[in-house]
């Protein structure tokens, strides 16, 4: 798929027209309501995003009982923070350690934990990531400037079913005594997909 944002402008303006035409047809036929469509856009553009997941991770780092609940029933533990809904109905956490790095992909389409991360980035849905994450994950990680020690093995989770995986990255060093809010600022979207690491306090301040 050509996802390099170098689509020619005529194709993009064709899409504007095509989608506008289709939307007005569906509204006229009464299959959808304009206000309902607007709520969907507003929800995923502004309300649901990786800040949700970052709060889950920060709490997991600071509250051992919460981490245990995440391990036993991640959907319920994440719902405690108010994060539920589409593409997050069946959640599971996978915890990174020095020995094992977890990374999530959907080789067959674009399955992604919307309730905690929002909509997937373009690269997640693109052929290079979907094709190679399972077969050469270390090389893929290098394209995200992630360089793991050879002793760290990589476990890739292919989201073939409705299970949605949230990676709990390793807590950065030098964060003792940090509040949940301070810690959440270190948790990037990519660190929760497994294509990044949580930021150090220095990196976050930079």
């Amino acid at each position: 798929m050509s996802h390099d944002h170098d689509h020619d402008h005529s194709e993009w303006s064709d899409m504007e027209l095509k989608v506008k035409t289709l939307e007005s047809l569906l509204l006229e036929k009464g299959y959808v309501e304009q206000s309902a469509l607007d709520v969907i856009v507003e929800t995923y553009e502004h309300k649901v995003g990786p800040r949700n997941g970052a709060q889950v991770v920060a709490k997991a780092w600071t509250d051992p009982e919460y981490l245990q609940r995440l391990r036993e029933d991640a959907s319920a533990a994440i719902a405690e923070l108010g994060f539920t809904g589409r593409q997050g109905e069946h959640m599971r956490i996978v915890e990174n350690t020095a020995e094992m790095h977890n990374m999530v992909v959907c080789t067959l389409c674009s399955c992604y934990p919307w309730s905690v991360l929002g909509l997937p980035p373009v690269w997640y849905k693109s052929a290079p990531y979907r094709s190679r994450a399972v077969s050469e994950p270390r090389k893929v990680l290098s394209e995200f400037d992630v360089d793991l020690p050879d002793s760290t093995k990589i476990q890739v989770w292919d989201s073939t079913a409705e299970m949605r995986y949230l990676v709990i990255p390793m807590r950065p060093e030098g964060t003792e005594g940090f509040s949940e809010e301070q810690l959440a600022d270190l948790v990037t979207r990519d660190s929760m997909i497994g294509t990044g690491l949580a930021l150090s306090p220095e990196e976050a301040a930079a």
Partner: protein
């Protein structure tokens, strides 16, 4: 189906290109494409697995060269055309020419936040005990159905280990055909990367694939 969507293990698509500070949407039409796709899903005229199959069934050259939201729009159009919700001419003009089909549900703006928050869980009560336990060695079936399946090509006929039982979930292969939900036990199956991709894969790495019970045989 062995379509262009089944990308795991394919080669020569080039490097991944992460975009710094990527916006949620890259154009206004992408917002509308998302809203229509999600919004029409609520009408109950098809299920999730049918909609995935509609995207997989697009012409391979289209699937491989268009953006994901373009794939969604064309998949949605085909779903609506197949069910007579719209006609080709209506899609071209944007003007209603045929009576609307009565749909099961139209979610209002007021109802939508709750509808999105509720989602669509696919866990179902099991009809019998799970055939496998954590730690069992299993081999995936070597199937090549022309319909929808969620067993990727790279993971067919391979042997791995069950590391978790997720519960009993709607079986996409049946649900996409219109044969009902046919719930089946769902397992996380861990494979050695070298078992899947040969000695070029890194020893010690693993891949976990979620597999429904009909995909598995005891090894």
């Amino acid at each position: 189906m062995n379509g262009p969507h089944d990308m795991g293990g394919m080669q020569f698509y080039g490097p991944v290109k992460p975009e710094a500070n990527e916006p949620v949407f890259h154009a206004d039409w992408e917002k509308r494409a998302l809203a229509m796709t999600v919004g029409m899903g609520f009408t109950g005229q098809w299920n999730l697995d049918v909609s995935r199959f509609a995207r997989e069934s697009l012409a391979p050259d289209f699937y491989l060269t268009k953006s994901y939201y373009q794939i969604w729009v064309n998949g949605l159009q085909n779903l609506m055309l197949e069910r007579g919700l719209v006609t080709e001419n209506e899609i071209a003009t944007g003007k209603m020419e045929t009576h609307p089909v009565e749909v099961k549900r139209v979610v209002s703006g007021e109802e939508m936040p709750a509808a999105l928050a509720a989602g669509g869980p696919v866990a179902r009560d099991p009809e019998g005990p799970a055939a496998f336990s954590v730690g069992d060695r299993v081999t995936t079936t070597n199937i090549h159905p022309t319909g929808h399946t969620r067993l990727p090509r790279y993971a067919r006929g391979k042997t791995g280990e069950i590391i978790a039982i997720h519960g009993c979930h709607v079986f996409p292969d049946s649900n996409a055909r219109g044969d009902g939900e046919n719930p089946q036990w769902l397992y996380a199956v861990k494979f050695d990367a070298q078992a899947l991709f040969g000695s070029d894969a890194e020893a010690g790495n693993t891949v976990v694939v979620d597999c429904w019970e009909p995909y598995l045989e005891r090894s």
